[in-house]
């Protein structure tokens, strides 16, 4: 205790009740039962990103015009920002905290912007440990490419085997160029190759090369062959239908495919949408026949919207029962469906309505009712279950040094999921080769609480689009890049959830002056902090947590 100031007359007193002496003897921290701690959180966008891109930091760099740094930050988690910025289903945007304030950030457009702006940049090939182990990757789709990138960056010799004539897997074979221009894909594969990854194309597993041989020659093997086997319709006349994937592969390879004036596409997934929009660009009138309603379509919502926008026709609640030839055309027999009880997927099961048969006359039929992996090349003593290897961590195959990932493991999924699988497998292979166990990754809390009072409403910058009139006559990319101004404006809308940007609010608001500010960072002086929580409340972006004091 200091000596108290004693006033002998009102003249000595200040006009109001204000402390005039140093009060630091009064260590009010002892009153505290809640403790504020600075603990950065994971932004929901980043948490939702299968690839784990550090979105808030990247957007902060974009808003400052620091595109190269943004691009290099992308490449710490992803070798394919140009691809993802175009084709990803952006679960980041779905989780963006800003959607509860006005509109989610246009994260995908910004990723694409960064990739485009840095198209000519190259990775700095760093000094890597020299490693003797060789790794074979079968399949050069997003899973294989991502796995190769992370292994090669860590010094491993990686060889990628690809059945097609060029690497890229489904990115090249399945995704139409109006969604993913090939120069973008080529460039990002080229940058992976710069790390010393060897690509052996025109080499099909089980045909040109044997898995047992690879297993002998390499120290580890990653099977990322994707899901290319089209499911059957199991109806009479199925042989008249072309598989959607074959159709896309042919068109994407530049071959001429004659589908006539009218084409009927069976299915409601992404392949169906790609088929329909591709058919439109070949001058056909596509009609999508789907057995449930629009709400149950498994395709990405954006793809459905774009298809509708471009003029694709839909016939919902209809299922084909037979395909016949008639007068040089095809006649598809359909039955009207209604939705019954929910099935295992949670969607309502379509049930045929008796006597509701109808027929559609068409020039061609494309079936796109799903794909599945074809793992027939695996020899019999390599265990799989239901065509898919079970949990890698527990499966026999991991111990054997053979890893399966991407669509080959999960069945058809997204590019981003395949990339996650590729990266995780890269690390699993490293651990396998070094005899390490999987470390327990610290689980960061999500930054879910944003103090909206500190933000002003600002509309989302729409992604520029090619007009529909210019779309259907060519395979030109439909989405356009944001301008520099648009990108910076849009990036500046980011709340930076969970990431401190030294706004000073905690320091300004602390009623006990217990926040210490030094060189752009803060700490709490617990001798004086009473644990009132004002700092945590006023932190706009959820960086400060309030935890109970341990007794």
């Amino acid at each position: 205790m200091r000596k108290p100031i004693v006033f002998t007359s009102e003249r000595e007193m200040p006009p109001m009740a204000v402390s005039l002496a140093d009060m630091s003897h009064n260590r009010t921290g002892g009153w505290r039962y809640m403790r504020p701690i600075y603990s950065e959180k994971i932004a929901p966008c980043k948490n939702a990103c299968p690839v784990g891109n550090d979105i808030p930091r990247i957007l902060s760099l974009v808003s400052e015009g620091r595109y190269e740094e943004a691009w290099r930050l992308f490449r710490q988690t992803s070798p394919l920002p140009g691809v993802c910025g175009r084709v990803c289903y952006h679960p980041c945007e779905t989780r963006c905290n800003r959607k509860d304030f006005d509109e989610a950030l246009s994260i995908a457009s910004l990723e694409r912007f960064v990739a485009d702006a840095c198209f000519d940049l190259e990775d700095k090939i760093s000094d890597r440990p020299k490693r003797s182990e060789k790794i074979a990757i079968v399949g050069s789709g997003p899973a294989g490419l991502t796995c190769a990138y992370f292994l090669a960056k860590d010094g491993y010799a990686v060889t990628v085997f690809e059945a097609a004539s060029q690497p890229g897997g489904m990115l090249r074979l399945g995704i139409p160029s109006y969604r993913l221009p090939r120069e973008v894909l080529d460039r990002e594969i080229e940058l992976i190759a710069r790390w010393g990854v060897e690509f052996r194309t025109n080499t099909k597993i089980g045909q040109d090369i044997d898995i047992e041989k690879l297993w002998e020659q390499y120290d580890a093997l990653f099977v990322a062959t994707g899901a290319h086997h089209s499911r059957a319709l199991s109806i009479p006349g199925e042989e008249f239908a072309l598989t959607g994937l074959e159709f896309l592969k042919a068109v994407n390879a530049g071959q001429t495919v004659n589908i006539g004036k009218r084409t009927l596409i069976i299915g409601g997934g992404n392949t169906a949408m790609d088929c329909a929009r591709t058919a439109l660009r070949l001058g056909a009138q596509p009609l999508v026949v789907y057995r449930r309603t629009r709400a149950e379509m498994p395709a990405i919502a954006e793809e459905i919207e774009e298809a509708e926008h471009e003029g694709v026709q839909f016939e919902f609640l209809a299922a084909p029962t037979a395909i016949c030839r008639r007068d040089g055309k095809l006649e598809v027999h359909c039955v009207r469906m209604q939705l019954g009880e929910p099935d295992r997927s949670g969607r309502r099961r379509p049930v045929p309505i008796p006597g509701s048969d109808f027929r559609i006359l068409t020039d061609s039929v494309l079936k796109a009712v799903g794909e599945e992996p074809d793992l027939s090349f695996l020899s019999e003593h390599l265990e799989t279950s239901e065509g898919i290897v079970m949990e890698r961590a527990q499966g026999l195959l991991e111990r054997a040094g053979i890893f399966i990932g991407g669509d080959a493991q999960t069945g058809p999924s997204t590019v981003a999921q395949a990339m996650r699988s590729g990266r995780e497998t890269a690390y699993a292979i490293m651990r396998f080769l070094r005899g390490e166990r999987k470390p327990k990754a610290p689980q960061l809390d999500e930054a879910l609480r944003v103090n909206f009072s500190y933000f002003v409403h600002k509309p989302r910058v729409p992604t520029p689009q090619l007009p529909v009139s210019e779309r259907t006559s060519s395979f030109a990319e439909t989405k356009r890049a944001l301008s520099v101004d648009q990108a910076r404006t849009e990036a500046s809308r980011c709340f930076s959830c969970g990431v401190c940007n030294t706004c000073d609010n905690c320091w300004v608001f602390c009623p006990d002056a217990a926040i210490v500010r030094t060189n752009g960072s803060y700490s709490v002086n617990y001798d004086f902090c009473k644990g009132c929580g004002v700092c945590a409340e006023e932190c706009p972006r959820s960086v400060i947590s309030l935890v109970e004091e341990e007794l």
């Binding site: 006033f7 007359s9 009102e10 007193m13 200040p14 006009p15 109001m16 009740a17 204000v18 402390s19 005039l20 009060m23 320091w507 300004v508 602390c510 006990d512 002056a513 926040i515 500010r517």
Partner: protein, 390 residues
């Protein structure tokens, strides 16, 4: 709205005169909650903030209590602060009014005089502001839109000088919604008149202090004494502020304003807009040869008791016109004037009239009736209701 016309004549309502005054005073933080008839004051200010005419933070709040609380916080950091309210809004602020004064924060507020409910009324009378008489806020009653604008600027000058909050008061609709041509002073002149606010102590993380802490009985009374001293000082500061204002802008209002009072046998005491009506009636009565005059009370807190005493003690009779009522006693201005004169050796009889409650018009004939009554009665009466249908 073209808001940057300064140094020009402009036709504006009383409410907008308030807004222009606050803008010219370069207020830094505004917090307000809308209430009829005040809303236009802060509407225009919010536009000024939005379009950049005024670089101020406009804090939206959920009540008048919060509005005042926000300004107390802002003023504590050294910001120049402003709000406006009316009637029930002012009543809801009551607790915070004490706090602002006790913390010695020079917050300035406009109160648009509106009658209290129930029954609901949006029209004018003075009970809302007079109910806050003892909170430690200065109160200035305005008669014209020009006076409104000028008083906002003067109020900051005085409030910041003596570290006490100030409330300017204007009649609902009669002034708030009535447009008059006024001069919008030049910003550079206002800047010359009103320097930036520099508080003695302020909230600052770099120089942390504790404010408003517990004061034991051995110091509390001194702090209250100092508040009263500040109010006494404010009487001098209002006179000084008015004097310097007239030098720069050519207009002055005084703390009180006598009108044709010199040889008056009856002096009518008024406040607010009814003063303008009374001037007309006095002119008419003078033309008829009757020796009547007028005393307008402008600054009500601090109460200029000496000035009032000097102005009234030599007349034969005093008639006080109150647009308010303290139930169980009478008009509040009449009470104040009686108490100001009581310790004087010369004490003219005082007639207390209550009129115009809830916005009922006080017409020239009402004022004539008050003068006639005073003239024809020898014994003073504490409370005479004017115009009550009985």
């Amino acid at each position: 709205m073209t808001p940057t016309l300064t140094g020009t004549k402009k036709v504006v309502t009383g409410n907008h005169a308030v807004s222009y005054g606050a803008m010219l005073a370069r207020v830094q933080v505004i917090s307000a909650y809308p209430i009829t008839p005040q809303t236009q004051v802060v509407e225009l200010l919010s536009e000024f903030c939005a379009n950049g005419t005024l670089r101020a933070k406009f804090i939206k709040v959920e009540s008048e209590h919060s509005a005042m609380a926000a300004l107390i916080g802002a003023a504590s950091t050294g910001a120049r602060t402003f709000t406006a309210t009316s009637a029930h809004g002012l009543a809801l602020m009551h607790e915070m009014l004490h706090w602002a004064a006790g913390a010695r924060l020079p917050i300035v507020m406009a109160d648009i005089n509106r009658a209290m409910g129930p029954p609901w009324s949006v029209w004018t009378d003075q009970n809302d502001s007079l109910s806050q008489r003892d909170t430690g806020w200065m109160q200035v009653y305005c008669e014209s839109n020009q006076e409104v604008l000028d008083t906002v600027i003067q109020a900051y000058r005085v409030a910041e000088k003596v570290s006490m909050p100030a409330m300017l008061v204007l009649d609902a609709f009669v002034l708030s919604h009535t447009a008059e041509p006024i001069e919008i002073p030049d910003q550079s002149l206002v800047d010359e008149y009103l320097p930036p606010y520099r508080p003695l102590y302020k909230l600052d993380p770099n120089d942390p202090r504790s404010f408003g802490a517990l004061a034991p009985p051995d110091v509390y009374m001194e702090l209250r004494y100092k508040m009263h001293q500040a109010m006494e000082d404010a009487l001098i500061e209002w006179a000084r502020a008015d004097e310097e204002f007239s030098e720069l802008f050519g207009r002055r209002y005084g703390l009180i304003e006598p009108y044709r009072a010199d040889d008056a046998e009856i002096l009518l005491v008024t406040s607010g807009t009814v003063t303008s009506t009374a001037r007309e009636v006095i002119d008419e009565l003078r033309a008829e040869g009757r020796r009547v005059g007028l005393l307008k009370i402008r600054v009500f807190r601090p109460f200029p008791a000496q000035l009032v005493r000097a102005a009234l003690q030599d007349t034969e009779k005093v008639a006080v016109l109150d647009r308010n009522i303290s139930f169980g006693m009478g008009g509040i201005f009449a009470q104040e004037i009686k108490s100001a004169l009581y310790n004087s050796t010369k004490r003219p009889p005082i007639f207390g009239f209550v009129a115009g409650l809830g916005g009922r018009d006080i017409t020239p004939s009402v004022i004539r009736e008050i003068i006639d009554y005073t003239e024809s009665h020898d014994e003073p009466e504490d409370l005479i209701w004017v115009g009550v249908k009985r």
